[in-house]
Point group: C2
DNA sequence: GTCTATAGCGAGATAGAC
DNA sequence: GTCTATCTCGCTATAGAC
């Protein structure tokens, strides 16, 4: 593996990530990706065996699989929730594109959903268990676990990454640390966390 | 206008709404829509003048434009936020498809984004102003308006409408009223609402 | 490894018959 | 209004030259 700029395979993956995030999988053609990457169309077949497989490779390469695998499953609920908020926020700050792709695939019932499940679901399971155990321990106060969990995920994933929100937001993104802090405050409030 | 079942134009729109929600605009072909609607492909051109225009018509017909226009702009912030949560939740409960379409178009920078803006943005402006004024009045407590607002929107829009979440939710949807109540509780908590 | 050329298909749109 | 037939285009994928 060479440096990203010299490695054509990596250049294709980076272009694909960018364009899938902006236009969706179906809205992006292999030709368009290769043009952006300065690569020949035939290389997608050569390196990945087609558009679908290239999509899967994005998660193999860019999703923080090691990080998730290394998380201590027995962490205290409050610490766990805070960790998840922080890690997801930092990850999005460094690589907003992958999160946008994940959102798109979740919202549609795409043919790629199985790939998304494979990589992303472990994180959701962890987060959900922390949200649940936090209530069991009397730390959080909410009625429906499903609704609480989905609201947390919504608040975490949905951000002003698209042009759409430009007309209605005015602060700029701020630092990732600040964002994580603000989100932690919102989500813990939403979960009815006992005052710290 | 006849009853939906007999009105071919309406049958096409209903099929389009369903399929766009499940597969995205680019992932759905006009042929597929017409097959689902039991209509001839040529009718999309005849009635709407093409696929893009048909998309716009969806919002003309199904988006609650009158409801939004009728909202009292000078409502108190707390009441306004509660109203928005309730109306959006009830709307999604009755017609989850349109919300899914809106999410998809927002997340990608699609060519349809201008249409989405035109119909949906007025609601966001109202909601954002209520969130802002609530803080001005000392009712809400958060640091960043942008982050608070986006978190509210995320919690409102992002729900288990897709297959993806089946493996990790177990309560079933419940009534719309219950859902609205739970969401209100989460969001007001997130906004740091003074205890009622 | 990288290219050109092309196969093969399915897309959106519409002319024109009924 | 609704249909069939067809146009034209762009898509993914790949065979085969280099």
């Amino acid at each position: 593996m060479q440096t990203p700029d010299n490695d054509i395979k990596m250049r294709i993956l980076l272009a694909a990530k960018k364009l899938f995030a902006e236009q969706g999988f179906d809205g992006t053609s292999v030709r368009q990706i290769c043009e952006a990457a300065g690569a020949n169309v035939a290389l997608v077949s050569y390196y990945f065996g087609g558009k679908e497989n290239m999509f899967g490779e994005l998660f193999q390469v860019f999703f923080p699989n090691d990080l998730i695998a290394s998380i201590d499953q027995n962490m205290e609920p409050l610490e766990g929730v805070k960790l998840a908020i922080r890690e997801i926020t930092l990850f999005r700050h460094n690589d907003p594109e992958l999160i946008r792709i994940i959102q798109q695939e979740i919202i549609t019932n795409s043919a790629r959903i199985q790939k998304i499940r494979e990589y992303v679901m472990p994180m959701w399971f962890l987060l959900r268990r922390w949200v649940e155990e936090g209530r069991n321990q009397g730390l959080f106060h909410y009625r429906s676990l499903d609704t609480a969990f989905m609201s947390v995920v919504g608040a975490l994933l949905f951000h002003r990454q698209s042009e759409y929100w430009r007309a209605i937001t005015d602060e700029g993104e701020g630092t990732a640390e600040q964002l994580a802090e603000d989100l932690t405050s919102f989500i813990l409030g939403g979960l009815g966390a006992s005052e710290a």
